[in-house]
Amino acid sequence: MLKQIEGSRAVAEAVATCRPQVICAYPITPQTHIVEALGALVKKEELNAVFMNVESEFAAMSAVIGASAAGARAYTATASQGLLYMSEAVYNAAGLGLPVVMTVANRAIGAPINIWNDHSDAMSQRDAGWIQLYAETNQEAADLHIQAFRIAEELSNPVMVCMDGFLLTHASERVDLPGQEQVDGFLPPYEPRQVLDPQDPVSIGAMVGPEAFTEVRFLAAERMRQALELIPAVAADFAGQFGRPGGGLVRPYRTEDAELIVVALGSVLGTIQDAVDELRDDGIRAGALGITTFRPFPAQAVRETLDGGHRLRRLVVIERALAPGSGGIVTADVRGAISAPDGRPPHPADTIISTVVAGLGGRAVTRKSLRAMLTSAARGDLPPFSFLDLRQDLVESELARIRAARRSGPSAENILRHLSVTGIG
């Protein structure tokens, strides 16, 4: 049913049609509206599920692990510091191979404390063993959740659906929400691979020593390899049943003859597509590559897209999280992907890769800035590593302060003070 609806509400309704049996979450901005809406559906008995209130995110993830191990379809949602707080249990859910589905309403990580959107939270857990899917729109956020339960349960591996905090969670957009019968036809009842059953007792989560830990880990890698095949198959099945695309590994946009391709994850892709159209109008052969599945990293799909345009010379990777001291998290994977698995050099060999850190802590990523940055990339003027819309004056004044005095004080507060002074003056 077509609706004009807030992203959080759309996700809650989509999750409800997946018939989760246990929902356990702790509220944190910007995830709160999702679990609020699910709580209301449970209370109104429109959703037959156990809604567990807990004292922390660590408890939330621990409880869904327990519920999943007991054979229930289990769901949670969090963001930012909440994801970090549950991190130990996040690894456990994956290590145990439990098909939990979790929404991460992407938000920056402090300090400095910041409630706004970037990808620092989800990126910090990228190697926890979860499948990570990133939504481009609220329609896709809703659709990815329906696919996530099926992917998680077929593989017995948890899936994290990442949607940009505020930009998607708090935005009212047009979303086609499928009916219960449609979802029932796509998502069969949960059939656990392992279950805690008093009638047939087993242990789950035993200590595993050097004799077998590597083998258990190998199987985790194998599940991810299988996921690379399953995710596009589920997306194709979804498209067949629901009549619209959504999910999958990667999403190319005007890449066929592109000489310049922007790689990105999440809702910034919409703005990038608008910028790409403007660049095309300017005569620059630009394209965009959205990475919908970040874990497992779809190296082959990325390589095939980038190889497809044999004229490709420049690649710009947008990083919505900063890896201090290394630079770009997504860039490293993209760079790995365009080196063929047999170790051949990248194709085409002279492709230049630039990393652009953008949209940290809620800094708007505008079409205007993207267009200027990509135009300079097309001219060959973009440095290998840069920050989009960096206030150079602020950085330089703080660097000068640090050079001038040993006790230069806290940088964040210094910069804020500088901003308000310039604001008044």
């Binding site: 706004w116 729109t137 930009l167 935005a171 009212s172 919409g270 608008d274 505008t366 079409r367």
Partner: protein, 219 residues
């Protein structure tokens, strides 16, 4: 004829701009607790009912009662892909006139853009002679005040100006019809609250439409 007394031909060229073939962007200014976010969502919902694409979103802060807040709405005839903030609005809805002295409310307003300010007084009476001059320069029919809080008090019993502001916007711009606004209100609220908001929106629409018609007749 439209409520503005314009011909169908005028209406067509207006439609080109008003979020039917080109994007129409609205920025709402108000204070926390005044329903600024709800108003943007209602406008998106009204546009959706007219089979257009719409996107509404708040200014993503830590909202507090009384603090200046903004919300945004985009309306277009085709899917909206961008997720950047609205920097160059086609219309400004200012729900609280006390913001005029605190914030640069008019930043980025497009030439030929619309301004609807919630006040029982005119721009001149508000000490906004410059703005009144600007309005005359551009098109005086595009810059209006509307006593939305009073209408809300009369019909709803609470000074929540969102619904009457949307009624006024519908009359001023035609970007959405009154019926769509009323349907969006009926969908969002129930009982007395729905009825009060709908009555306030209708009264605001009729007030602005009749003012515009009267001024045209005078002209």
């Amino acid at each position: 004829m439209t409520p503005h007394g314009r011909t169908a031909e005028d209406s067509l060229s207006r439609n080109d701009r008003l979020g039917r073939t080109a994007m129409f962007q609205v920025r709402f200014h108000g204070r926390g607790g005044q329903g600024v976010v709800t108003a943007a969502e209602l406008l998106a919902s009204a546009a959706f009912r007219e089979d257009r694409y719409a996107q509404a979103f708040p200014s993503f802060g830590s909202e507090r009662m009384g603090a200046p807040v903004m919300s945004f709405c985009r309306i277009d005839g085709k899917p909206i892909r961008t997720h950047e903030p609205v920097t160059d609005p086609d219309a400004l809805l200012i729900q609280d006139p006390t913001l005029l002295h605190q914030t640069d409310l008019f930043a980025g307003l497009k030439p030929g853009g619309y301004v609807l300010l919630n006040s029982a007084r005119s721009f001149g009476e508000l000490g906004l002679a410059d703005l009144a001059d600007l309005a005359v320069e551009q098109d005086r029919n595009r810059f209006r005040t509307l006593s939305a809080s009073n209408l809300a008090m009369a019909h709803l019993g609470r000074p929540l100006p969102g619904a009457p502001m949307l009624g006024g916007l519908a009359a001023l711009t035609g970007v959405v019809g009154l019926e769509a606004v009323l349907a969006a209100i009926a969908d969002r609220f129930a009982g007395k609250v729905a009825a009060g908001n709908a009555a306030a929106a209708r009264a605001a629409f009729e007030f602005v439409a009749s003012e515009l018609a009267r001024e045209r007749a005078d002209a």
